[in-house]
Symmetry: C2
Subunit: 120 residues, 2 copies
DNA sequence: TTGATTGCAAACGGTTTGCATTTAC
DNA sequence: GTAAATGCAAACCGTTTGCAATCAA
């Protein structure tokens, strides 16, 4: 959890593993995967997917699940929530007779730095 | 596109391939993948991901991109759209200085049949 | 001593690619 | 004749698992 939180933001399991090795920690890639999956199961981290299918992990900023606005250029992420959208997600299921509805909402774009050709 | 549309709803590339073979069409799995990717690039099909990472494809029901409410029990899917949510997705980026924002919204639940122990 | 954690390496599963062959025009 | 589409098999890549070794209580 510490290695994951150090630079806050999304990291892939592989990046996290590499980062830990560079920090001098002797740890196996599979151990990283096992830990991340455990954390995700317990709701301590949120997970998103790159278009490639690769999973990115981030320490959950609050007690409730969050959604993220992720920069495609530099990976910078911002947690965003909206009661309105949460509510919509909850009710749209009812309207179609669905129960136990879960939702995945991911926003990607170019942040202020990356969007205007600037570097981050 | 025909094989994909025949039973409307989401199918994996592998399921689609198997279905085409059963229908007597001699086609390679990679050809199915190539076609699906082409269709997705052109906006003719929408793509979602199973938790496993497997991709599911569905013919896009209208000219605009859609979001889906997908039954975890039987795979039944309903296209859902909301101007409100589309608008939210578009503006939340602006508020954080992001441009060129895209969004992925996936809803999953149990449909009326699967939710109350019934079979579909 | 006993159960949980770790590492290594191999397996896994979905997807993509190299390349020779076939098809379409 | 030429360019695009296809099939086969191998490669790819992120992820998971079997199992023996290690660690903790």
């Amino acid at each position: 959890m510490h290695a994951l939180s150090e630079p806050p933001g999304f990291v892939s399991a592989q990046e996290l593993h590499a980062r830990m090795l560079l920090a001098g920690q002797r740890v196996g890639l599979n151990t990283v995967y096992r830990a991340l999956n455990t954390f995700a199961d317990r709701g301590w981290v949120d997970v998103v997917r790159r278009p490639s299918g690769e999973q990115l992990f981030r320490r959950r900023p609050g007690p409730r699940h969050a959604h993220y606005l992720l920069c495609r250029g530099c990976g910078h992420s911002v947690a965003v929530t909206s009661e309105l959208v949460e509510h919509w997600a909850g009710t749209v299921g009812d309207e179609h007779g669905f129960t136990d509805v879960e939702h995945v909402i991911e926003l990607t774009g170019l942040c202020a730095h990356c969007g205007d050709g600037g570097a981050r």
